[in-house]
């Protein structure tokens, strides 16, 4: 019995989503290549000895950042999943969505407030040892900042994967008197491992494309990523051919790394049985409980520290006056509207891709994956390593003959942000969808439930929470975006981060700090709302 027909609407949805993404990226390249074609010298000149060093540093810092983010995240996620009633757990998880919304420079200043030469630890160190604190400029600074951004992200995504473990398994484990170690090996690790390549790949891509963090905290141009080269090519040099060449190089390198990461993972066979046991949680003994608590508190302190510094700095600003300014109110509304629209589009795209991938995998059953399945699986994630400035500039060039480029600016911002957030949403949605699909596919086929009815009755209840997580991440990411808006922004379209940077750029650091706080609060409010949406039913997943 073929569970999914070749004409399954889910596959069609996936193909449409892929086509939209391809159009967005392909169109940008087309525009740049068209403009750059008459002068290809820059493309060849890009390959100099310095490039080799840049490539080496880019990969090295990204690999280290990924390792330092993902391994602790795995442990923290496990700790959180074993203590569902941990004090403040819900709040911790909401807090973990916030770093993504902070513009890189705000996060960097927050981190420096703790670890910088004038930071908290510098004061502590000179008070205790009488020594000067050297600050964290260099690789260590880059790593701290990257872990600050990615540890919370990876934790939430791993947690999402752990929550797909059927409750029957936990019941069985408890009946067998399984301890923490075998439970990890037999129950938790397979679920984590299935999610590992995707999450590690995502973090790796984010670190590969890091730009402001690497330059600001890196201590000098020895710390330079390919992204800086791409930015330079499009900025001072205006050399589209070189920008495209470097972007392709970035994609190719990331592709190789992601390919290697895939080997770490495993495809778990989903559990086809409907869960009958009520939701239950593993028994945790005292020693493990304290270890887990230490892990959670440690991660919380690491993430909350720089955020607390941001809040403190923000409180010293004249918040009342800022909130009263028309420009600020307008930017807040614009930001919120853009973030909501981007997140909605992003979640729809990733859901379409996930469903298509699931349906394709069912059709295939055995044998190698088709190209389409690969594309809906890891392929779509690669949009992350295409710099927004490349997409923006490409479309600008393509559309300038077609009419008013300003008029499409908001559309461009929303679309690019949605596509950029899609890989995050994908990671949040997929484990739950695959698990639910494994359980429900047969039942749906037997009962002839399909289309909207299936979505409403079968998929929605189990997808609700992960969709909310995906939505929250996509929103946070769009809220903090500066890449696209920097190119398309104009006086009629200003977002909060844009305004923040403008204030910073004209000596108004206090205002900027206040706006960072405001941005964080807007994000928190939106994340809380998304969480509430996700908590509809108590039904087990």
């Amino acid at each position: 019995m073929a569970l999914a027909r070749p004409t399954d609407p889910r596959i069609a949805a996936g193909v449409i989503a892929l086509a939209a993404i391809t159009l967005l990226i392909g169109g940008a390249f087309l525009g740049l290549l068209f403009e750059g074609a008459h002068d290809l010298s820059g493309a060849w000149a890009a390959f100099d000895p310095y490039l080799l060093r840049v490539v080496r540093f880019t990969l090295w810092q990204a690999a280290l950042s990924t390792l330092l983010s993902v391994v602790p995240a795995l442990l923290v996620a496990r700790a959180l999943s074993r203590h569902p009633r941990f004090f403040g757990r819900g709040f911790i998880l909401q807090l973990f969505a916030l770093p993504l919304a902070l513009p890189a420079i705000v996060a960097a200043l927050g981190i420096l407030a703790l670890y910088g030469r004038a930071g908290y630890f510098a004061g502590l160190s000179s008070a205790v040892g009488g020594q000067d604190w050297p600050g964290i400029y260099g690789l260590s600074g880059i790593l701290v900042a990257h872990v600050f951004f990615n540890l919370p992200l990876a934790t939430r995504l791993f947690l999402e994967a752990l929550q797909t473990i059927p409750s029957d398994q936990w019941r069985l484990a408890s009946q067998l008197g399984m301890g923490a170690r075998p439970a990890f090996r037999l129950i938790e690790w397979p679920a984590l491992r299935a999610a590992l390549p995707g999450i590690a790949g995502l973090v790796f891509m984010l670190c590969v494309t890091s730009f402001t963090i690497v330059l600001t905290l890196g201590g000098g141009p020895a710390a330079t990523t390919l992204e800086v080269g791409i930015y330079q090519a499009l900025r001072f040099d205006f050399d589209p051919a070189r920008a495209v060449t470097l972007t392709f190089l970035q994609i190719a390198l990331t592709f190789v790394v992601v390919l290697v990461l895939t080997r770490l993972g495993a495809n778990v066979a989903g559990d086809a049985n409907l869960p009958v046991a009520p939701r239950r949680y593993p028994q945790v003994n005292g020693a493990e409980a304290s270890l887990n608590a230490a892990l959670i508190v440690g991660a919380l302190l690491f993430v909350a520290g720089p955020m607390a510094a941001t809040v403190t700095a923000g409180l010293s600003a004249d918040i009342g006056r800022l909130a009263g300014e028309a420009a600020v109110r307008q930017a807040t509304l614009t930001s919120a509207a853009f973030a909501l629209l981007s997140a909605l589009l992003s979640v729809m795209l990733s859901l379409a891709l996930t469903m298509a991938r699931g349906a394709l995998a069912l059709n295939r059953r055995s044998g190698p994956k088709t190209l389409l399945e690969h594309a809906t699986d890891t392929g779509a994630g690669f949009v992350l390593v295409v710099p927004p400035i490349v997409i923006g500039a490409g479309w600008f060039l393509l559309l300038r003959h077609a009419g008013d480029v300003f008029a499409i600016a908001p559309l461009m911002v929303v679309t690019v942000n949605a596509v950029m957030a899609m890989p995050f949403a994908l990671r949040a949605v997929r484990p739950a969808y695959d698990a639910a699909s494994a359980r429900h596919e047969r039942l749906c086929a037997q009962l002839g439930i399909s289309g909207l009815a299936r979505w409403r009755l079968i998929d929605w209840p189990s997808m609700r929470r992960p969709l909310a997580t995906a939505f929250a991440f996509a929103m946070a990411l769009s809220l903090g975006d500066l890449g696209v808006i920097a190119l398309f922004g104009s006086d009629s379209v200003q977002t909060l981060p844009y305004l923040l940077l403008a204030r910073m750029g004209s000596y108004r650091t206090q205002d900027a700090a206040g706006l960072a706080l405001l941005l964080g609060l807007v994000c928190l409010a939106l994340v809380l709302a998304a969480d509430r949406l996700g908590k509809g039913t108590a039904r087990d997943v």
């Binding site: 200043l109 330059l215 905290l217 890196g218 001072f236 420009a327 509304l333 750029g505 900027a512």
Partner: protein, 332 residues
Amino acid sequence: MRTFLYSLVSAAVVALSGPALAKDKLTVYTYESFTADWGPGPVVKKEFEAECGCDVEFVSVADGVALLNRVRLEGASTKADIVLGLDTNLTADAKATGLFAPHGPVSDAAVPGGWTDDTFVPFDYGYFAVVYDTEKLKSPPKSLKDLVEGSADDKIVIQDPRTSTPGLGLLLWVKSVYGDKAPEAWAKLKTKVLTVTPGWSEAYGLFTKGEAPMVLSYTTSPAYHMVAENTERYQAASFEEGEYLQIEVAGITTTGAKNPLAAKFMAFMTGPKFQDAIPETNWMFPAGKTDKPLNPAFDRLVKPTKTLLFSPEEVAANRKAWVDEWLAVMSK
């Protein structure tokens, strides 16, 4: 969102109602901090609109480099009549695009070293300077040589010349003082550089947070702190070799050459109504006659003993090689 919808609708109305209405409008592309509420933009708009009985529309992007790129991206179909906010390091590239037209008659621009150019007209200028924190640094460097050879404990934050205008400014400054010996100077200066940020904002942010006692900025930066914040804490160091000049200019695009308001605006720009607004909104020196005297704070700023400046052609011809030279030393 409402403003946005409104501008969409009004754009459509303008498009439909044809050239009769659109004629009375002047579109000026400029950088962000020019059009900000506290920038010169609002004053300039009001004054010029009163004079010409027309509509001024500002479109702003992040900075001068982004401004040139915006015009390049839009090409000949650009809506800009005037592009305001390029500096002399960009004018050669800007001319090479063929998107700019001669500016017509304007009154003499008052910038150090004089000005002759048929395409671009200066509207303000400033000097790059090392700004220091008087609470952290008791004896600031007295020359670029002092800075280069001084103790490695006194850190400075600078900007990357690959991504930022002040970063390029410091590179040209060192080049104009040290010439062929610039790589050696950078090798020494490198030990004092705390970090190299992508833009001015990041560097100045680190500086005011106390991460480093010095930052590369402008001689006019202390004026902001004195006038707007009432503090003398941040001062610019005066260098014996002189300071490197930045001249900000505006030009008429080929689109603007068809709009009579563009030439009018250029004449207005060098006049007192525009120039009066510059010092305390853009924190730069006026490049024309003003009606009001400068705020006394400006008299207390560092006065360069010598003005350093490469011609736009020299910069355009050598920028890439010089940046590569810098990169080779700094990334070791």
